[in-house]
Assembly symmetry: C2
Homo-oligomer: 354 residues x 2
């Protein structure tokens, strides 16, 4: 197959980890006879410096003409005091909105060889393998009216049936490819929006009799993510709850730099990025962990290109390298062999080429 | 001093743990020459069975004529299928609303002798000693419009300046009695209500130059509660964020049955209750942990009665008993001596009488 991919490396370590991901995808392409065309676009701080806006029109055009987008990370102290429309993060929000990326996927997986770095006891973190499915373009962060003056403030949480249904369906479809279990998180004992959410989950669930499901209140979910995280398979929830819970879940394995994400449009087009930031303090030192970016491209292979074997091969390669005792510099002092960004990338490529 | 206390034992283990707390308060009364008058009222399931409503008028009257309220826990499977206005929990919501209990305090403290039961690594949980201050009567759970039909749902997050200011002031006052540090949690990069919240925090902070403070986004706070919980002193936040974060925080020490709470009116009147539920499965067996209820009354001594030495004495007594190796039945298999509810109560009383 031939696929055209927009590459937005962004700022800081975004560049290095994206380069790493591309090298790995080239290896996948060689092994499975696919041809990837990389089309580079500016985003974030560098875009502000170069063309005066965080998401240039040229970048939008490049993305529109591509089959998927891979993104590194944006931001840095240089732009921290810019007005909000000239902040690197604004580019991220704009691109999600422009392409209607309404379903956010945040997998969290514990690697057995790295349990010692989890803040949780090893026996609690062991076996964690969950997929958080977050609604990304609706709810409290977008509803109107939304304003504040000196004495009063209002935000509005609005959801339409379609917005809820598409993300819930996505979660049930994903569960079929995993362990057939969906936990829907809401606050249906208090919120009207959660009552509609729960009703739609019931309707969708009826169409998936093979998938087990339950409802959990958001505060109970915040507890269970710590006490018994391995019990979760797919979690589906609305935007704000997903924002909080996906970040909470991201730290339970202790390896933030490993975690990928996907933001999808209903037709399967998507943007893929590691969840870590641009880490300007370690940028350019060839020590950043490229695995979050690399695993993000595995999500792209699976979700946007339906290349399942290719995605599995890539994920297995990463897993094998980690289980063999290699890791990057953030895991020093746990008795494992530390590799640079490029060395780690090469190791993963060797695994793919084996 | 003479104090009149409304006692709402509620359902299940609510009764046993409240009885335990009263015995302990009697011991405090003897040692410090205070006289407590206990006035019992019905609440929750038992109230539904007896007078047909979860919060009887007679109970409201008893509370109005008292200096503070102590509460056990409400609910049980017997009432789970009742219509929502006849659910035991409804009585709790009604009492908070009736008495305008707008400031919720949720302390979380790790006991060194029980670090092994935390889901976190011992070195992560060690030293945790935080106070979460949650706004309890405003925000998304109460704003209008709030409705849903088959296709659309709306909830509204509204805050007025006064609602925010009183809880923020409370947090800064508490910090002065603790380690002089306030972390205000919001989502000011997205929500208008959080922008007003942050503005008011800045204004209040200016009046407390001796108190260090910072702002943290709610998703970052959800992460840090797991990765570095001992860094927090006082956390102050709005209702929904507080709902989620206080429950998340409650599990980090692994000893839910130990945790007290207070819900306060601006004038200092308050309701004190353990955070655990009515646990009908273990009710009446004399095995429930009374410490959550007992520590709640220490909060009453401090917050409603300004009996600081008395509160400290009670808390020290609990701590000494725990550090001496005693605990209740939920901590079996960690090599400590298991006491019944009444034995634990007696131990704590002996410490107070020493
Ligand atoms: Mg977030
Ligand atoms: Mg809660």
């Amino acid at each position: 197959m031939k696929k055209r991919v927009a590459v937005l490396r962004g700022d800081g370590i975004g560049k290095e980890v994206t380069d790493a991901a591309i090298s790995v995808l080239e290896a996948i392409g060689r092994r499975f006879h696919h041809e990837f065309e990389w089309v580079y676009g500016l985003l974030g701080g560098e875009a502000i410096d170069t063309v005066g806006q965080p998401l240039p029109d040229e970048t939008i055009r490049i993305c529109e003409e591509s089959d998927a987008i891979i993104l590194g990370a944006v931001g840095g102290p240089k732009w921290d005091n810019h007005p909000s429309h000239l902040r690197p993060e604004k580019g991220l929000l704009q691109i999600r909105k422009h392409f209607e990326l309404s379903v956010n996927l945040r997998p969290v997986q514990a690697f057995k060889s790295l349990l010692s770095v989890s803040p949780l006891k090893e026996e609690v973190a062991e076996g964690v393998d969950m997929m958080i499915v977050r609604e990304l373009t609706g709810g409290l962060y977008f509803g109107e009216p939304s304003f504040h003056d000196n004495d009063k403030a209002v935000d509005t949480l609005v959801y339409g049936r379609d917005e809820i249904e598409r993300v819930v369906v996505h979660a049930f479809e994903l569960a079929k490819q995993r362990r057939n279990k969906v936990t829907s998180v809401d606050k249906a004992n208090v919120l009207e929006s959660s009552k509609l959410w729960r009703k739609i989950v019931e309707e969708v669930a009826a169409r998936y009799p093979e998938v087990e499901y339950d409802h959990m209140l958001v505060d109970a979910a915040a507890m269970k993510l710590i006490t018994y995280p391995s019990a979760f398979d797919v979690i589906v929830t609305e935007n704000m709850f997903g924002d909080i819970l996906s970040d909470e879940a991201s730290v339970i394995t202790g390896s933030l730099g490993m975690l990928p994400s996907a933001s999808l449009r209903v037709d399967g087009f998507g943007l893929y990025e590691p969840i870590h930031g641009s880490a300007p303090d370690i940028a350019g030192k060839n020590i950043a962990n490229p695995i979050g970016a690399i695993l993000s491209t595995a999500m792209m292979l699976r979700s946007s290109f339906s290349m399942l074997e290719e995605a599995n091969t890539l994920e297995t390669a990463v897993k094998n390298v980690l289980e063999a005792g290699f890791c990057t510099s953030e895991f020093k002092n746990i008795g494992r062999q530390i590799l640079s960004t490029t060395e780690m990338t090469e190791k993963i490529i060797s695994e793919i080429e084996r």
